[in-house]
């Protein structure tokens, strides 16, 4: 890496110090050298003035020697110049410009020009020559001229002194400057270093809660604020994301649980269905084998009774298959409701007659509490009968022999604001009741009361279908346990009038 690159890639701190030192150095150097140049020029002028003055005095003193042609005296006069050490050589020229007398500090320089050089002052690198006319006091006419050669030793001595002073000053300035720069650069590099350290930590630890320290309201301060805001946004975003992920996960868990429940319910349903099929199959198998066994010995009546029973269970199987089919149908689509105005008592009678055999068999008392007048209602006969058979059937199934079931019908209203006239049908049993937390659930598809497991069988669909059927009529159905703690009560409310006489309702 070249020095330039190394400087470019160095730390801000180093750059700041270097920059300060560079500026300081250049400034000091420029200042010192300009002062030095000025001083040299000044010194030169002073030297020339001094030499000129000396030459003048010496010239004046030697005026008589010149006038009276006394070179020895003139040489003595020149000897006075010894006091001025920088003067190396001096000569007198006469009026005509011929060599007259000379003074020299060094024998080697003992050569003066024979003829006078032009007047004036001349600087060379190492010497200063002055050629000055010597004027008479009165007439101001030129009586001769003086030529002086001086070296510049004094100037160079001064220059040397100067150089040392400048060197010392520069060292001081650079030393103090370096110390100050080192201290003061912290104002800039300190916040930057803190900010960059903070970003490094955040990145390394993936910790978005760290914040950079705010120092001053300069650009770095603004950058720090922006960075902190950015970090907060990232952190908030991440927190939100986490919350969202949690929420979604919980949703999925719930959905999964639901799906699992539905799956379990379906398995349970299939198991129940297989039970339901096995019982009538068993009867068919048994009676047909009885018939085959007794074919030769039994009476016609005996064989007939076997066939009757086979026919009966066949009917039971058929209705089971139909129930299955209707479940499939209900699942796949809509059911048509045909509302006709008819006497609700007729349908109830039909249900009671259908269930009578079972009621008698279990020695259950069925108490009917129905008004003694036609109860005219618009409804789909088949659907309501199906619902009542289901609910009354359940009541019988779960009630012990000898106990009582009540079926009551009374006037009622349904709906809040636009309440309509309706009838309430209540079926109250003295059976095993329903656990309170299951009172709503039992109307769900494939859900049976946990007490059903004691053995009553069933598809787990009856109440779900019943609910949809009653809803299809714009009515309500619910279950509750009797206040005295014995048995359950199912209530159906069905409005007398229907908005539409024919409609299709998605039942499940």
């Amino acid at each position: 890496m070249s020095i330039k690159e190394r400087i470019y890639h160095s730390k801000i701190k180093t750059k700041l110090v270097l920059l300060t030192m560079l500026i300081l150095g250049i400034t000091t150097l420029l200042l010192s050298s300009s002062i030095m140049v000025y001083d040299i020029l000044n010194f030169k002028r002073m030297l020339s003035n001094e030499i000129t003055l000396t030459a003048n005095i010496t010239g004046k003193r030697a005026l008589s020697s010149l006038l009276f042609q006394q070179p020895e005296k003139a040489e003595r006069d020149l000897q006075e110049l010894e006091a001025k050490s920088s003067i190396l050589k001096a000569c007198f020229f006469d009026q005509d410009g011929n060599f007259f007398a000379e003074y020299s500090t060094d024998e080697a320089l003992h050569i003066c020009p024979k003829k006078a050089p032009p007047l004036g002052e001349r600087f060379t690198f190492q010497t200063l020559t002055i050629h000055q006319p010597i004027l008479s006091k009165i007439s101001t006419t030129q009586q001769g001229s003086i030529y002086v050669l001086s070296d510049l030793r004094e100037i160079y001595d001064n220059l040397k002194r100067y150089f040392i002073v400048v060197l010392i000053i520069m060292c001081c300035v650079i030393g103090i400057g370096y110390f100050l720069a080192l201290q003061l650069q912290k104002i800039i590099s300190g916040p930057l270093e803190d900010l960059s350290e903070t970003t490094r930590i955040a990145l390394r630890k993936r910790d978005y809660s760290v914040r950079a320290k705010h120092f001053y309201n300069d650009e770095i301060g603004v950058l720090t604020n922006t960075f902190n805001q950015f970090m907060k946004a990232v952190q908030d975003g991440r927190d939100n994301l986490e919350a969202k992920v949690h929420e979604r996960t919980a949703d999925l868990e719930r959905e999964k649980l639901k799906a699992e429940q539905a799956n379990r319910a379906k398995s349970e349903f299939l198991r129940n269905m297989s039970h339901e099929f096995r019982t009538p199959l068993h009867a068919m198998k048994a009676y047909s084998s009885f018939g085959v066994d007794d074919y030769d010995t039994a009476s016609r009546e005996q064989l007939g009774s076997y066939f009757d029973r086979i026919a009966l269970v066949t009917k039971r199987l058929t209705s089971l298959v139909e129930a299955l089919l209707s479940v499939a149908q209900l699942e796949s689509g809509k059911q048509k409701f045909v509302m006709k105005e008819q006497d609700l008592r007729k349908s109830i009678d039909q249900v009671v007659v259908e269930q009578q055999a079972l009621i008698n068999e279990k020695d259950i008392e069925l108490k009917l509490d129905i008004p003694d007048k036609p109860l005219m209602v618009f409804y789909d006969d088949g659907k309501i009968v199906q619902v009542l058979v289901n609910i009354l059937g359940n009541a019988i199934k779960f009630t012990e022999p000898g106990k009582k079931i009540t079926l009551a019908v009374s006037g009622a209203y349904i709906g809040g604001k636009n309440r309509k006239q309706a009838y309430r049908i209540e079926i109250i049993d003295q059976g095993i009741g329903i656990p309170d937390k299951e009172l709503k659930k039992i109307f769900d598809k494939f859900i049976q009361s946990s007490r059903t497991n004691t053995g009553a069988g069933g598809t787990g669909l009856g109440l779900a279908i019943a609910k949809k059927m009653i809803r299809g009529h714009g009515g309500r159905i619910w279950a509750e346990n009797n206040k005295n703690g014995v048995g359950a009560k199912f209530t159906i409310i069905i409005p007398k009038k229907q908005d539409k006489l024919e409609k299709e309702v998605k039942v499940i």
Partner: protein
């Protein structure tokens, strides 16, 4: 003559079972249409009962409940219990057999398989 107690909430099924038993030659049969009445009878006449054939699942008190009651008192230990049920799930049958019942028949079953269980129970 061996006294057989049978219980099933399905009266139809009860009739079939008793007819089946009669055809096998057992005439001394007590039939009950609910678990509760069967249990009451068993408590009264346990000394004379040779075997009990119970429907595993009946409302209020099923065969399982009756069997549990019987196993809580050693005076019923001599009565073998056979379950009949429409539950043909292997897992459930295994559970029941492990609980100590004598046998299990899943509907629809052949008279022969019931006969086999009864033969073992009555010797």
């Amino acid at each position: 003559m061996a006294l057989i107690v049978i219980a099933d909430d399905d009266t139809f099924n009860c009739d079939i079972l008793s007819e089946m038993l009669r055809r096998m030659g057992y005439d001394n049969i007590k039939t009950f249409y609910s678990g509760k009445s069967a249990w009451e009878y068993i408590q009264e006449d346990y000394q004379n009962i040779s075997v009990a054939i119970l429907d595993k699942m009946m409302p209020c008190m099923g065969g399982r409940d009756i069997f549990k009651q019987m196993r809580s008192d050693s005076k019923y230990d001599h009565i073998p219990v056979i379950f009949q049920s429409a539950d043909a799930c292997d897992k459930h049958i295994m559970e029941d057999l492990e609980s100590g019942i004598h046998g299990y028949v899943a509907k629809p079953f052949d008279p022969e398989s019931l006969q086999e269980l009864l033969d073992k129970a009555l010797t």
